[in-house]
């Protein structure tokens, strides 16, 4: 019995073992299943996540596409606007160029006209000068001849200004050094006497004066040099006249006319003299050039006129 039992036991054990194994297998299977289930769930989650991401990416791509399209549309629109603006600018540039050409032409015409006007003024003054000369030639009274000659020279000094103006590139200002040289030569020629040899020494800086300053300045020089030629050298064989114009501090010019003649009369007083020449000089210097005048008499006569540079004064006024 015991043997039987002993013999049965292994059989039982084997069955039990098989059962246990089956159970273990089933449990393992269940575990694997559970694990697979969990893994599947995870995978399903991942797939779901991926689906979301894909959808999001598609959405983003779509948005990007839309942005891209919008950008392209805006670029096109901007390009069109720029093209139109460019065309407008080109047209405007063309119009401005035309206008500029018209302005330049008009400027040239006006310059030519101004040149012609200066030429006409010079010619008219020349006619006045000739009329005075014609009158002079019919006059026997030396005193009247002298008066007419003085008047003729005043007119000539102004004609010379206009002559220099139409010859100058600027048309509004003249090179005064050239002018003084020409004026001095004309005056010496006009008052020349066979017995008197005059040397004129012109020392004028290269300054450009506008008409407003040049005319009174020329009349002053005309009067001063004429006075020298008429009164400074009585009974003399030769004489020297010097004309100097230079810049002085304070944006001013100093005009100095000297001679080595007999000097001014002892009782000479510019404030009381009845001489038209001296009154012209004084009034033009003080009232028109807004300057000062000084008469001196040492070894000959010396007259100094100091006046402001009207060009600089005007520039300062504009700057203010």
């Amino acid at each position: 019995m015991e043997d039987e039992t002993r013999n049965r036991e292994p059989v039982l054990d084997q069955k039990e073992l098989a059962f246990q194994q089956s159970l273990k297998f089933a449990e393992d299977l269940a575990k694997v299943y559970q694990e697979e289930k969990a893994r599947r769930k995870v995978l399903e989650g991942v797939v779901e996540q991926l689906k979301h991401e894909i959808a999001a990416r598609r959405h983003a791509e779509q948005a990007l596409l839309e942005i891209h399209q919008d950008l392209e549309r805006r670029v096109e629109e901007r390009t069109r606007e720029l093209t139109e603006a460019n065309e407008r600018l080109q047209m405007e540039i063309g119009q401005r160029r035309c206008a500029e050409e018209r302005i330049n032409e008009s400027l040239k015409e006006k310059e030519a006209l101004l040149n012609e006007i200066h030429h006409r003024v010079k010619n008219n003054l020349q006619i006045v000068s000739s009329l005075l000369a014609l009158q002079m030639s019919r006059c026997e009274d030396e005193r009247i001849v002298g008066v007419l000659k003085d008047s003729q020279n005043r007119v000539r000094s102004m004609a010379l200004i206009h002559e220099q103006l139409y010859r100058s590139d600027d048309l509004s200002r003249i090179d005064f050094s050239q002018y003084v040289e020409a004026l001095a030569n004309e005056l010496v020629r006009s008052y020349s006497e066979a017995a008197l040899s005059i040397s004129i020494n012109v020392n004028v800086e290269k300054v450009f004066l506008d008409v407003k300053t040049a005319i009174p300045c020329s009349l002053i020089i005309n009067e001063l040099v004429s006075n020298c030629l008429k009164h400074a050298f009585p009974g003399r064989a030769e004489g020297m006249i010097a004309i100097e114009l230079r810049s002085v501090p304070g944006d001013r010019f100093a005009l100095v006319v000297t001679d080595d003649g007999q000097g001014l009369p002892e009782d000479f007083d510019p404030r009381t003299t009845s001489s038209l020449g001296v009154r012209l000089i004084t009034n033009l210097a003080q009232l028109q050039l807004h300057g000062s005048i000084e008469f001196e008499s040492e070894s000959g006569a010396r007259v100094t006129v100091v006046f402001p540079d009207s060009g600089k004064v005007e520039a300062q006024t504009i700057a203010c």
Partner: protein, 128 residues
């Protein structure tokens, strides 16, 4: 010796009158005064002077330089230009016509006499 006869070509008649008087006082015979290049050509055709004093800027289509060229080439009369201080371009044009002298306005008697006498002398030498 007889002083040369002169034709004045100047479109400013008052200026021409002054010049005419001055020349007459100096003993020159002023044959006439005309105001244009065309009138100058007509004048020298019928009554040729010894010398022509010619203003450069003249009224009419023909300026003094054009008239001077014809007078010199066709009539062999010396021409002296009367100018204000002319511009460079005008002087260059004037030079090409080989004038016998220039007189710059206003004219002094000495300048007039010297220029006219030199012109007449030079012209005589050229024609020898």
């Amino acid at each position: 010796m007889l002083k040369p006869s002169i034709l004045i070509v100047e479109d400013e008649i008052v200026v021409a009158m002054e010049l005419e008087e001055k020349l007459s006082r100096m003993g020159y015979r002023v044959r006439g005064t005309v105001a244009s290049g065309e009138a100058a050509l007509d004048f020298v055709e019928t009554d040729p002077p010894d010398v022509v004093l010619m203003d450069i800027r003249l009224e009419g289509d023909m300026d003094g330089i054009q008239a001077a060229r014809v007078i010199l080439e066709h009539h062999n009369i010396p021409v002296i230009y009367l100018t204000a201080h002319a511009d460079e371009r005008t002087l260059e044009r004037a030079k090409l016509t080989e004038p016998f002298g220039y007189l710059v306005k206003p004219f002094s008697e000495t300048g007039l006499r010297t220029t006219i006498e030199v012109a007449v002398y030079k012209h005589g030498e050229t024609n020898r």
